[in-house]
C-alpha cells in the first residue's frame, strides 16, 4: 500500500522535499515509515525523540497502524506564536 509523507520546516530541508510517497507493507505504523525515512536521510535520525506525528491531519502516536492512502506528517518541535 502507498502513503503520502509530509515533512515540515527543518525536516523538509533535510529530506529536500515537502511531500513524498512511499510504498509500505500492510500493518506498517508511523514508526515503520519514520525508520525507513531515517535510513534514507540520516540527518532525520537525530529528531526521533523530538518529533510529533500525525495521520490525515490529526495527531497520532508512532505505533499507529496506517491504511492505504493515509497522509503521514512528521513535525519537528514547533515555534509558532
Amino acid at each position: 500500500m502507498r502513503v503520502t509523507v509530509r515533512l515540515f520546516a527543518r525536516l523538509r530541508d533535510i529530506a529536500g522535499a515537502a511531500e513524498l510517497t512511499r510504498d509500505v507493507a500492510p500493518g506498517s505504523t508511523i514508526g515503520t515509515v519514520w525508520r525507513q525515512l531515517a535510513s534514507e536521510y540520516p540527518g532525520l535520525a537525530a529528531y526521533e525523540q523530538a518529533i510529533s506525528t500525525a495521520v490525515n491531519a490529526d495527531y497520532a502516536r508512532m505505533d499507529r497502524v496506517l491504511g492505504d492512502g493515509d497522509e503521514v506528517a512528521f513535525l519537528p518541535p514547533v515555534s509558532g506564536g
Binding site: A9, Y59, S79, G81
Partner: protein, 164 residues
C-alpha cells in the same frame, strides 16, 4: 463578511475585526460580557543576540486549525463563560509585523486575562507552526516544544503561567 474566530493564513492580522467577531458570535447577548483582552505577538528585530532581518512562518494548516479548535475547547472547559478568537499569520513577516492575534471575551476580567494568556502558551506548545529566522549572516529554523496536545504537564504549565 464575518471574520472567523479561528484562522491561519498569509493575510495581515486585523485585531479590531477579530475582536469584533467575538462580540457578534453566538451564545452571548450584548451586555453579558464585561471584559475583552487581546494579545498581539510582534516580530522582534533581535533574538539570541542575532540581528533579525525578517521571519518566515510555515504551518501544517489543517492540523493547526484543529489545534486552535482544541485550545478553544480547552478554554470552554476551563472557563465556561469565556470565548476565544485566534488568528495566526504564515509566510514572510517583516520586523514589527503581527504574527498572532488573540482576543478573549468574558463576563469577568480575570477569566478574559487568564484565557488569553493560556491561549498563547498553548499555541506555542501544540500548534504545528514553525518560524524560520533570517538574520545578518544566515538563517535558522527555530525549534521550541515537541507538540503533544495530550501532555497533561504542558497543559498544567500553561494554566500556571495563565495564573488560573
Amino acid at each position: 463578511m464575518s471574520t472567523p474566530l479561528l484562522a491561519i493564513g498569509p493575510g495581515p492580522l486585523e485585531l479590531e475585526r477579530i475582536a469584533a467577531s467575538l462580540a457578534s458570535s453566538a451564545g452571548q447577548a450584548a451586555g453579558v460580557d464585561g471584559a475583552v483582552v487581546t494579545f498581539l505577538g510582534l516580530v522582534r528585530d533581535h533574538n539570541l543576540g542575532r540581528r533579525v532581518r525578517y521571519l518566515e512562518y510555515e504551518a501544517y494548516e489543517p492540523l493547526a486549525l484543529k489545534a486552535f479548535e482544541r485550545i478553544a475547547s480547552e478554554i470552554a472547559t476551563r472557563w465556561p463563560d469565556t470565548r476565544l478568537a485566534l488568528h495566526h499569520r504564515v509566510g514572510r513577516l517583516a520586523i514589527g509585523d503581527a504574527s498572532v492575534a488573540i482576543a478573549t471575551r468574558s463576563p469577568h476580567r480575570a477569566n478574559a486575562y487568564a484565557a488569553c494568556r493560556y491561549a498563547i502558551e498553548r499555541v506555542k506548545q501544540i500548534a504545528p507552526i514553525w518560524k524560520r529566522e533570517f538574520f545578518d549572516g544566515g538563517d535558522v529554523w527555530i525549534e521550541g516544544a515537541t507538540a503533544d496536545p495530550d501532555a497533561a504537564d504542558a497543559r498544567a504549565e500553561a494554566e500556571r503561567i495563565a495564573c488560573a
